[in-house]
């Protein structure tokens, strides 16, 4: 069990990089009013078919038996954390298209781990492969922050972008969509 959510994020995002993702997008949204913290990690890696997905989501007890190369405990641990904190866990994946992992938890839940050292997580991800674009979107009730490892220094996006991710958003993955989101928020930053 990880003591920080940022360790979970690092772990899941490492899977994305192992899956040859070119873009890894991490979205963290803190809704104090709705008492919800949601985290989404989306990549354009090679994705998983239904069988593989089932295998990586298997209960802790069964992962060892079915353990093969590249199959580990990361997702199971994250699911456990989310469920323990009154939240939900969801993985969508399409072979060749990418994977999206979404979790939510109650912001005020007593068992919810702190976000922790997100900086160290992003630094570690940036150190994996220079060709990978690591993006971070951090949303609170009032502010929005965007970071991309591919982008030279950009100004902070002061206003919320038009496109705000909500848990209900459709999750079928389109290639290049992550990039589109990035361009939109960058444009918002220039206007602000």
């Amino acid at each position: 069990m990880f003591e920080e959510l940022s360790l979970h994020i690092l772990d899941i995002a490492m899977n994305s990089i192992a899956a040859k993702a070119r873009i890894v997008q991490i979205m963290i949204s803190e809704h104090a009013q709705r008492d919800m913290l949601s985290i989404r990690i989306q990549d354009n890696g090679r994705g998983m078919d239904a069988d593989t997905l089932e295998r990586v989501l298997a209960d802790l007890a069964t992962t060892k038996r079915s353990r093969k190369k590249d199959i580990g405990l990361g997702l199971a641990l994250l699911r456990q954390t989310a469920e323990m904190c009154g939240g939900e866990f969801d993985v969508r994946s399409t072979p060749g298209m990418g994977t999206t992992v979404t979790v939510s938890m109650k912001l005020s839940h007593v068992d919810r781990p702190p976000l922790g050292d997100l900086n160290a997580t992003i630094l570690a991800l940036c150190a994996t492969n220079p060709a990978v674009d690591v993006q971070l979107h951090y949303l609170t009730d009032t502010e929005h922050f965007h970071f991309s490892s591919k982008e030279p220094a950009k100004k902070k996006v002061a206003s919320r972008p038009e496109r705000i991710w909500s848990g209900e958003e459709k999750t079928n993955y389109e290639p290049g969509r992550t990039q589109k989101v990035k361009r939109e928020s960058t444009a918002a930053g220039c206007l602000a």
Partner: protein, 123 residues
């Protein structure tokens, strides 16, 4: 986590990316799979980055990889030299990481009692 911290992160990440250009004498590879992370690999990596920056070592790059098959001795760091020589250090923590930066990366002296296995001599 606040926006100030995130802004600092941005600058730091950009410095790190800039450091990667060109070939280096040393490449530090940190194992960052699930077990590595659970054992504290991220903190080891962060300490090494800070220490490398503090000492102004420019001929070093830090990279991250997945599981390396040494789950029982995590956190694990491998140092690859331009000559092809490889040294693996195991059971690390922040203090040991600092020592490795000071001894191996700065002075070129291996820290034998933290290393595992035999180093591979280039053919």
């Amino acid at each position: 986590m606040n926006l100030e911290e995130l802004k600092k992160l941005k600058e730091k990440a950009q410095r790190q990316v800039a450091l990667r250009e060109g070939s280096k004498k040393y490449r530090v590879v940190v194992s960052m799979g699930t077990s590595g992370i659970a054992a504290g690999a991220r903190e080891v990596m962060k300490t090494m980055l800070d220490e490398i920056e503090k000492r102004g070592l420019e001929d070093v790059e830090v990279r991250v990889t997945g599981e390396v098959g040494l789950e029982d001795v995590e956190p694990v760091v491998r140092i690859e030299e331009a000559s092809g020589e490889k040294t693996t250090y195991a059971h690390l923590d922040a203090e040991k990481a600092k020592r490795i930066v000071a001894e191996h990366l700065e002075k070129g002296k291996k820290v034998d009692n933290l290393a595992v296995g035999k180093e591979k001599k280039p053919e």
